[in-house]
Amino acid sequence: MQETTHLITYIFLFFSLYFEIFLLITYLEKMGSIKEEDKLIAKGVNKYPSVSIIVPCWNEEQTVSKTIHSLLNLDYPKNKLKIIVVDDGSTDNTWEIIQKFRNNPQVEIYSKENGGKYTALNFGLAKTTSELFGCLDSDSYVHKDALKHIITYFQNKEIMAVAPSVKLWQPKGVLQLFQKVEYGFGIFTRKMFHYMQAVYITPGPFSIFRREVFDKLGGYRHAHNTEDIEIALRMQKNHMKIAHAHSAMVYTVAPKTIKTLLKQRIRWSHGFIKNAFDYRTLFLKREYGNLGLVILPMASISIVSVISVASISVFNIVNAIISEYLKIKTIGFNFNLSNFSFDWFYIDTELVVIIGIIAFVGTATMVLTSRKMSEGKLRLGMDLIYFFVLYMFIAPIWITKAAYNAIFSVKTSWR
């Protein structure tokens, strides 16, 4: 039994180590490119294309106003930027709140029956003829330079969409602080996927597309409530290039409670599993490059590996607890510090432990590199500790639940 569980763990550790090294080597390879991109961004662009940003909202009375204000504050020619607010049948005061933007020449306001985010996006899409099109979730805010930075990437005619870097809006408390590290890590991995031409998510907050993406591929789809994964995979399937603008910052409000966090993550993971299955033809195909050969297979393997390694760990922890309970029940509780003496002999030097430590060091290196990339400097804080302690306990929960939902066709919801 132990040998089987060890073998399974070794195989998964090999894959995750391979993936970590792949990302780190890509980083070392492309460090110069990141600097070049920064220089290009600093130079700015000569021509500003017309851009429409859709703000789909459903019961977002708390945040929508701030979202629109952040768009109006973008450093971008006013005659080139249109903001289309689509109230997707809100039942709270969202509609009343957005009325204050009615007279702003940059803003158009629409209301429609509730049909889900993708319908609001397609509704907005039909109202615009601009060269570029994007979306900003109504719980997210953009940095004033974000659009300018994104536009730089569109100077390359082959780039069909650009994803921004998503950060958290004023994270507070243990739960949000650990997500802060996770989002920072997301910026790093997405940038590496950019260099591998394998970006497979164009996040809801402020990903910008060329209009012809939708002209050629059609509008957004329901896509298991994760239309941002589906559209990116559809683009990849049609060999359209997606870039990542690492310095274009978008801020989003993170879930405050464990319940809302789990709900959000189950939706994301479930969406990935279902969309990956829908686009399974991309897997292991040479024509899709790194995406088909490494990224998608690894992302899928990671789901299985997280579930199995977590199950094995839970099994071991339960076994240890049962043994300890049996021991205390048999001989009573007699913890005596004077009996304790250090002996190197009892340090676990099994292969699984050593590889585990190496994989952890690899992850820590990437997390620290991502922090340096997203914050400009390396700062160590409690959030890192929260991340390393909490993530490995919480992530398996949503991944397992999402996999269960995907296999047994349980539908996920937004809220």
């Binding site: 090294i21 024509e287 490059g289 001989i331 432990v353 050593i354």
Partner: protein, 228 residues
Amino acid sequence: MEHKTVDWKKYLLVFIITGVIFATAIAISNYFGQKKLDEIRSIQDKIAIDILSSETQFSLLEDSSCKNVSKESLSTELGSLEEKLSYTENELGVNDPQVVTLKRYYSLLEIKDYLLMNKISEKCKITPVSIIYFYSNKGDCSDCQKEGYVLTSLRETYPDLRVYSFDYNIDLSAVKTLIGINKVKNNLPAIFIKDQSYYGFQSIEDLEKAVPELQVLKTKNATTTNKK
């Protein structure tokens, strides 16, 4: 829209690096595993020398008083050896050939230690305080884990108590003979104290009752500690 190119060299390079890291980790793990086995071997050698020395000492002084041959002549490291051996057994598995050999050697040392202790006790007219314990880790002894906790705890409380534990299923003729002499039934855990057999789980209290000498050891230990 062009198809993507694949950098096979990079895939191979990453594979090689991952492989090298894995191989290094295997080497490190094996190195420490071997070091641990070496340590067990060296403890066993030390015990073997201790026993041999005591036996020789005993033979030399056969006719003299037992002042020079006391229980202090016995090795004190059997307990720590057993702990390390069972830890290694857990790490490497019960079927690991090195573990099997070490365990057989250990059982032999235990028997020799037991015989020597009996000789000393006889000569010096002291009652031996020892427990012989038979267990099985084949999964057919549900109480053996619990009994193990009890005996480890007793050994911690009474360092002078000598616990000799034997795997009932070990392939060693000396142990088989010991089982034969004591007529140990395959109804484990089985405990032998001064030719008296006890089958099934025995708690700390049961054993303390069975070996009244433990109380003396306890008082002796307490006095020694106080003196310190």
